[in-house]
C-alpha cells in the first residue's frame, strides 16, 4: 500500500492565499512545469506573483516515468512535480488550486489586466503568463465518443487497473503511447499498439517495448472505428500498405496520440495559429500587451517537460523587463 500525498500539501506552514484586494505584478495561470517555473523566477525577481491552477502538476502527473529530464535518470512524473512544487513552496507563492479561468479582460488603455475565474472571483494584475498546457488529442473516429468511459480511455495510469487480465489497444506511436503500452503490459493480458505511421518514440523506449512478449505492434495501420455493443469490443483498422481492413479485439482503447492546447477561452483575445496554439514571439509575448504564454499551450515546437520549464523562466524574465516599462 502506497501513499501519494498531494503536491500542494505543505505541512507545518500556513499556505499563502491569493488576495482579491491585491494588485499583482504577475498572475500565472497553470500549475505545470511552465507555470511553476515562471512563478519561481518571478518571485525571485521580487515580483508580487500568484498562481491560479486547475490542478497542480499538470499532465506530467499522468506520466509513470520520466527519463529525459536533465539531472534525474529516472523518476515518476509525480515525483518530479513534487520537487518542482516543493521548490516553489519554499518561496511562499500563493496558489489558488482547483479553479478555472473564465476570461482575461483588457480595459481600454489601462495596463491593468483583470483575471476572472469561473466561480466569479476576480483578480487585478499588470501581467499574465498563460501556461494552461494541453489536453489529450482524440482520434476523431466513429465510436470514440460513444465508448468514452466504456472502454475508450485517455489516462493509462488511472484506468489501466480496471483492465487487469484483459486485452487492450493503445493508439499512438510517440513516447506517451509506448510508455503507456509498457505500463499496461504489466497489468493486462495483451497490449496491441496501433499506429498510423512509424514510431516516433525514443529508441530506448522502443527497445524496452520489444522485449515484452505480450505486446503486439501494428505500424502503418489506421484506426477507422471503435466497435462494440454495450462496451467496446475492439477497433476496425486498415493496413495502409495492403489496404486490408480487419478487426483488432480489445476491451479498452488507450488513446495516446498527442495533445491539443488548452486555449479555447483565449480565442477571441489572442492570436492563435492553425493548431489553436497561442502565437508567441521569442520572449513569450502574445498578441496582447502584458499577456505572455509559456509551455504546451504556445506555438513553440517540441512539447517537453524541460522545454516548458525553460519557457516559463524565459517568460517570467520577459515580464520583469516589461513591468519596468509599465506605468503603475
Amino acid at each position: 500500500m502506497e501513499v501519494n500525498l498531494n503536491l500542494g500539501s505543505n505541512p507545518g506552514k500556513e499556505k499563502p492565499k491569493m488576495d482579491p484586494e491585491t494588485v499583482y505584478d504577475l498572475i500565472v495561470v497553470g500549475g505545470g512545469p511552465a507555470g511553476l517555473n515562471a512563478a519561481l523566477y518571478a518571485k525571485r525577481k521580487g515580483l508580487q506573483v500568484g498562481i491560479i491552477a486547475r490542478d497542480i502538476g499538470g499532465q506530467v502527473m499522468d506520466t509513470s516515468s520520466v527519463e529525459n529530464y536533465l539531472g534525474f535518470n529516472s523518476l515518476s512524473g509525480e515525483e518530479l512535480m513534487k520537487k518542482f512544487i516543493g521548490h516553489v513552496n519554499e518561496l511562499s507563492v500563493p496558489i489558488l488550486e482547483y479553479e478555472e479561468l473564465e476570461a482575461i479582460n483588457v480595459k481600454d488603455k489601462s495596463s491593468m489586466r483583470e483575471v476572472v475565474l469561473k466561480n466569479g472571483e476576480k483578480f487585478n494584475t499588470y501581467s499574465v503568463i498563460i501556461a494552461t498546457g494541453s489536453k489529450p488529442r482524440k482520434l476523431g473516429v466513429p465510436g470514440e465518443k460513444e465508448y468514452a468511459g466504456k472502454g475508450v480511455c485517455y489516462c493509462a495510469i488511472c484506468d489501466g487497473p480496471l483492465f487487469a487480465g484483459e486485452e487492450v489497444i493503445v493508439a499512438g506511436g510517440g513516447n506517451s503511447a509506448v510508455e503507456a503500452a509498457i505500463d499496461l503490459a504489466k497489468i493486462v493480458k495483451k497490449v496491441t499498439i496501433v499506429h498510423r505511421s512509424q514510431f516516433r518514440a525514443d529508441q530506448i523506449l522502443i527497445d524496452q517495448l520489444s522485449k515484452l512478449d505480450n505486446v503486439e505492434v501494428k505500424l502503418q495501420t489506421q484506426i477507422l472505428e471503435v466497435q462494440g455493443d454495450k462496451f467496446m469490443t475492439g477497433v476496425k483498422v486498415k493496413d495502409k500498405e495492403s489496404g486490408e481492413e480487419y478487426q483488432v479485439e480489445g476491451a479498452g482503447l488507450f488513446v495516446e496520440i498527442g495533445y491539443l492546447p488548452n486555449s479555447e477561452i483565449f480565442s477571441n483575445l489572442l492570436e492563435l495559429n492553425e493548431r489553436n496554439e497561442i502565437v508567441v514571439d521569442r520572449y513569450g509575448k502574445t498578441s496582447v500587451e502584458g499577456i505572455y504564454a509559456a509551455g504546451d499551450v504556445t506555438d513553440t515546437p517540441y512539447k517537453q517537460i524541460i522545454m516548458s520549464a525553460g519557457d516559463g523562466a524565459k517568460c517570467a524574465l520577459a515580464v520583469n523587463d516589461y513591468l519596468n516599462t509599465v506605468n503603475k
Binding site: P11, G12, E78, A148, Y154, C158, L162
Partner: protein
C-alpha cells in the same frame, strides 16, 4: 509502521496538526471474503497514530449491523467520518483511502474537524436549494491523480447539505460493483444511480447533474 515511512508519517503529522475538533473514523470490516480489511484497519490505525485528534472505532459489518444500517454501510472495508459529537456526516470511503486517495481522506477529515473551506456564494445558493435526497457515488482507482479532487467535491456537497450523501468507491476492491456501474474510466461519478459523468469536473457540473434529480 507497516505502511507509512518516516518521512510520510512526519508530513501527515504536520498536516493533521491543523485539525480543529476531534474526528472519529468508524471502520466496518468483516472476517471473511475481505482481502483488504486487515490492511485497511492497520493503515487507518497508523494514520490515527500520527493524528492525536483522529480516533478509530472498529465495527464488524455483520455483528454491528444496526450501526452499519444507521450509516448506510453495506460493504467492507468501508469507513465513515463522524464529527466531535459522533454525528454521521453523510460521507463514506468504501475501500482503503491510500495511494492518491489519502488526499481526499485528509481533506474530508479536515472539513469534518471544522476547518471548512468556504465555497463561492453562487455555488452555496445552488447547494442550499437541494431538498430531495441525493446519493453521489465516486468510483476511483488508487493510482489516479485526478480522482481525489472528485471525491473531495462530492464529500463537500454532502457536508453542506443534509439531503446529500456521498460515497467514494475504490473500483478494484469493489470490482463487481464497478462492473455493475460500467466503470472503465475514473473518476466516474454516478448520481442517484441515474445520471453520470467522468472526470474531476468543476462543482458546477456536479450541481448541473444533481439538479436533474430535483425536478418533481
Amino acid at each position: 509502521m507497516k505502511f507509512l515511512n518516516e518521512e510520510v508519517a512526519k508530513q501527515l503529522e504536520g498536516i493533521f496538526k491543523g485539525m480543529k475538533d476531534d474526528v472519529t473514523v468508524a471502520l466496518f470490516t468483516k472476517d471473511q471474503d475481505c482481502e483488504t480489511c486487515t490492511d485497511t484497519k492497520d493503515f487507518i490505525s497508523e494514520l490515527a497514530s500520527v493524528a492525536p485528534k483522529l480516533s478509530l472505532e472498529n465495527h464488524d459489518l455483520e455483528k454491528d449491523s444496526e450501526k452499519a444500517q444507521e450509516f448506510g454501510v453495506k460493504m467492507a472495508p468501508s469507513l465513515v467520518l463522524l464529527d466531535k459529537d459522533k454525528n454521521y456526516k453523510r460521507i463514506k470511503f468504501n475501500g482503503v483511502p491510500s495511494g492518491h486517495e489519502i488526499n481526499s481522506f485528509i481533506s474530508s477529515v479536515m472539513e469534518v474537524s471544522g476547518n471548512s473551506q468556504e465555497l463561492p456564494k453562487e455555488i452555496m445558493e445552488r447547494i442550499e436549494k437541494i431538498d430531495k435526497p441525493v446519493n453521489i457515488k465516486v468510483f476511483v482507482t488508487l493510482a489516479c491523480p485526478h480522482c481525489p479532487g472528485a471525491v473531495e467535491k462530492a464529500h463537500k456537497l454532502a457536508l453542506e447539505n443534509p439531503n446529500i450523501h456521498a460515497d467514494m468507491i475504490e473500483a478494484q476492491t469493489f470490482f463487481d460493483m464497478s462492473e455493475e456501474y460500467n466503470v472503465s474510466s475514473v473518476p466516474k461519478i454516478v448520481i442517484n444511480d441515474e445520471f453520470e459523468f467522468v472526470g474531476n469536473q468543476p462543482l458546477e457540473v456536479f450541481l448541473d447533474e444533481i439538479e436533474k434529480t430535483q425536478v418533481a
